[in-house]
C-alpha cells in the first residue's frame, strides 16, 4: 500500500502498482501499474481468505455493494413498484460459464431460441483474475423479469438483446435422446441457463442441463403464472391444469 486509493476513479487514472495489487474488473495494466478503465467507485477485494493472495483492485460498475437480489420467481406482482426505477443498463456481456436469464422466443424440434435478458453475477467471484469477467446490475433483475414476463412487453426489442440457442441435447443431463422440445419450453417462458459457448456470429449457446437450471417463470395456456410441482411439471393455480416444462430447482 504505497499511496491512498481514490474512492472514485476515472478512466486512465493510476490506481496502484501490480506489486501490491492484482488487477480486477474495470482496470487494465500498463507498465506494471494498474489503471482504471471505467469511471466508478474503487473496490478492494480479498480473493481468498489466505493471506498470500494479493488484494484485488477493481472499479465497480454498480456502485457500492448491496444485499443480494431477492429470488425472482417469488416476485411476479412487483410490477407497479418498478415503474419509477432508474434506467436499466444491459451493460454486461454474456461470457462462457456465466448464468443468464433469458426469454424463450421460438421453440423448434431440435432447438429453442431465447433472448438473453440479464447476465447474473455468479462467475465473477470464481474467476477473479480475469478482468473480462464483468459484474452485472443485480438490483434491476426484478424489474427486468417482471416486465419481461408480462405478455404486453413482448415487443420487438429482441433485436436489441443477445440471442441464444438451447439445443435439444443441452436441455437436460439424463435421457438426452428422449427430449421433446415442446415439453421442455414454451414461448414466453423465462429460463435460467449457463453459457457454454460464444457460438457463431448470431447466437450464444446455452445449456440447462443442471438441476438449478431450467424454466423459472411460465404462464399456462390460460395465461396464469404457474408454480413448479416437480422437475418436469408446473401447475396453474386457477384451473389446476398441469403443463410439462424443464423446471429449475426453485431455491
Amino acid at each position: 500500500m504505497a499511496t491512498a486509493l481514490p474512492t472514485l476513479a476515472i478512466p486512465g487514472q493510476r490506481l496502484g502498482s501490480i506489486a501490491s495489487y492484482a488487477a480486477g474488473p474495470g482496470t487494465h495494466v500498463q507498465n506494471a501499474t494498474i489503471y482504471a478503465s471505467i469511471a466508478g467507485p474503487v473496490v478492494v477485494d480479498q480473493a481468498q481468505p489466505s493471506s498470500k493472495a494479493k488484494l484485488i483492485l477493481s472499479v465497480s460498475r454498480t456502485g457500492p455493494k448491496k444485499a443480494a437480489a431477492p429470488a425472482p420467481s417469488t416476485k411476479a406482482s412487483a410490477k407497479p413498484a418498478t415503474t419509477g426505477k432508474p434506467k436499466l443498463r444491459y451493460n454486461t456481456l454474456p461470457a462462457v460459464d456465466s448464468v443468464v436469464l433469458a426469454r424463450v422466443t421460438r421453440v423448434q424440434k431440435r432447438q429453442a431460441t431465447v433472448s438473453i435478458l440479464v447476465v447474473l453475477d455468479e462467475s465473477a467471484s470464481s474467476q477473479p483474475l480475469n478482468p473480462a469477467q464483468t459484474t452485472s446490475d443485480n438490483d434491476n433483475i426484478e424489474a427486468i423479469l417482471s416486465s419481461a414476463a408480462n405478455p404486453e412487453n413482448h415487443s420487438n426489442s429482441d433485436e436489441l438483446r443477445f440471442q441464444a440457442l438451447i439445443r435439444k441435447e443441452d436441455v437436460r443431463a439424463v435421457e438426452k435422446d428422449r427430449v421433446v422440445m415442446d415439453e421442455m419450453f414454451r414461448v414466453g417462458d423465462i429460463v435460467r441457463g449457463t453459457v457454454i459457448s460464444l457460438g457463431d456470429q448470431s447466437f450464444y449457446y446455452l445449456t440447462t442441463a443442471r438441476n438449478d437450471l431450467g424454466v423459472v417463470m411460465a404462464r399456462s395456456e390460460s395465461g396464469n403464472m404457474m408454480f413448479p410441482v416437480s422437475w418436469k411439471e408446473m401447475r396453474d393455480p386457477v384451473t389446476g391444469v398441469a403443463e410439462l416444462r424443464k423446471v429449475a430447482r426453485p431455491f
Binding site: 419509477g84 436489441l160 456470429q201
Partner: protein, 324 residues
C-alpha cells in the same frame, strides 16, 4: 425528376441579404470582423455534461463558450447576421448490443461512428443525408476512439456512437469571400469537440477505455492588424476561424494525457512560407502539434470533471435504487 407543380427554392443554399440600412456605416462590414480577445494560449470555456439522454447507455452534451463578439452582438444587435458561431453538439452511445444477423463473428467490439450536422447547424444548410465532410468526420472520430477503447473486452457486440452537431463553427468570417487558401477550418474544431464529447459519453456508458481521450486544436494564423496589413504569423490555441483573416495551417489531435499518446492527428494547410519568412523556430510542425496537445490537455481537465460527475451520479443512483 423535377417538381413542376410547386415553386421550389434554389437548389443550392442562399445567404440572407444584408441591407445597407442595417449597417452603421459602409466601412463597418470590413471592420466588423470579430477580434480574438483571448491570449494566444487561452482556450474558450467548455460546457460538458453527461447522461442527458436516458434511452442511450451513455450520452454527453458539449458547448463552447461563445466568443466575446457574439455575446456582444446578442445583447446589442447591429445586424441580423450573427458575427460568429460557437460549437454545440450532442453525443449518444448505444451498446454494447448484438451485431446484426448479417455481420460475421467478431472477437472485438465493432465500432461505428456517425457524425451529422443538424440542417440548421451551419450557415450553409445541410441536407438530411450525410455528405462527404460528415462521413469524413465520422472516419476521423472512429480512428481517434479505436485506439482508446479496450475492444477485446466486448466480443460479438457492436457500439454505435452518434453525434449530432447543433451549431457548427464557421469555416471563415461570413463577410469574407471564399478564396484560394480557404479550407474547412471549422471542421477541425468540430472534430476536436466530437472527440471530447464522445470520450465523455463512452465513459458514461461504462465501456472500458485506456484513458479519457481529449481533442485539441492549434493553428498558425497571420492576422491583419488594425491598419489592415498582415502581421507575422503566430501560433494560437483553440482558434475560432471567424476571428482570423487567414489561417495558414491548423492541427487537431486526439490525445491521452495519462499515457502521453496521440490516437489521431490531422494537419491541414501550408505553413512553410510562415517559417521561411521569419527566424522564429516555433512555427514548425512540432510546435503546431505541441500546441494542439496543450489544447487537448486543457479540454481533458473539463472532461475529467464531467466524467467524475457522471461516476458520482451513478454511484449515488445505485444506492438510492437499493433503498427503495
Amino acid at each position: 425528376m423535377t417538381d413542376r407543380r410547386r415553386i421550389n427554392g434554389p437548389p443550392s443554399g442562399t445567404r440572407p441579404a444584408v441591407f445597407a440600412s442595417s449597417l452603421k456605416s459602409a466601412s463597418s462590414i470590413s471592420t466588423g470582423r470579430p477580434r480574438r480577445q483571448r491570449q494566444p494560449d487561452e482556450l474558450r470555456k467548455i460546457f460538458l455534461k453527461t447522461g442527458l439522454i436516458p434511452s442511450a447507455s451513455g450520452s454527453a452534451y458539449l458547448e463552447f463558450e461563445p466568443s466575446a463578439s457574439l455575446a456582444a452582438a446578442r445583447s446589442n444587435p447591429q445586424s441580423l447576421i450573427p458575427p460568429s458561431s460557437a460549437l454545440k453538439l450532442a453525443c449518444t452511445v448505444h451498446g454494447p448490443k448484438p451485431l446484426p444477423r448479417s455481420a460475421s463473428f467478431s472477437p472485438n467490439v465493432v465500432l461505428t461512428t456517425h457524425v451529422k450536422y443538424a440542417p440548421f447547424a451551419a450557415r450553409q444548410r445541410k441536407g438530411h443525408i450525410r455528405d462527404a465532410s460528415e462521413r469524413d468526420l465520422g472516419v476521423h472520430l472512429e480512428t481517434a476512439l479505436r485506439g482508446v477503447i479496450v475492444a477485446e473486452r466486448w466480443p460479438k457486440s457492436g457500439l454505435d456512437i452518434t453525434i449530432t452537431i447543433l451549431e457548427a463553427e464557421d469555416d471563415r468570417w461570413w463577410g469574407d469571400a471564399p478564396d484560394s487558401h480557404d479550407a474547412p477550418w471549422g471542421m477541425m474544431n468540430v472534430l476536436a469537440g466530437c472527440i471530447t464529447a464522445a470520450s465523455a459519453a463512452i465513459a458514461d456508458a461504462r465501456i472500458d477505455c485506456l484513458d479519457l481521450v481529449a481533442g485539441g486544436v492549434a493553428a498558425i494564423v497571420s492576422d491583419e492588424s488594425a491598419e489592415g496589413e498582415t502581421s507575422t504569423p503566430k501560433l494560437m490555441l483553440d482558434t475560432d476561424p471567424a476571428e482570423h483573416k487567414s489561417i495558414l495551417s491548423a492541427c487537431v489531435v486526439a490525445y491521452m494525457p495519462s499515457r502521453d499518446e496521440i490516437t489521431e492527428l490531422w494537419l491541414k494547410g501550408d505553413h512553410s512560407k510562415a517559417s521561411l519568412g521569419t527566424t522564429d523556430q516555433s512555427l514548425n510542425h512540432e510546435s503546431l502539434i505541441d500546441g494542439a496537445v496543450n489544447a487537448a490537455r486543457g479540454a481533458h481537465t473539463v472532461l475529467a470533471e464531467a466524467v467524475k460527475e457522471s461516476a458520482e451520479r451513478f454511484a449515488g443512483l445505485s444506492t438510492g435504487a437499493n433503498t427503495v
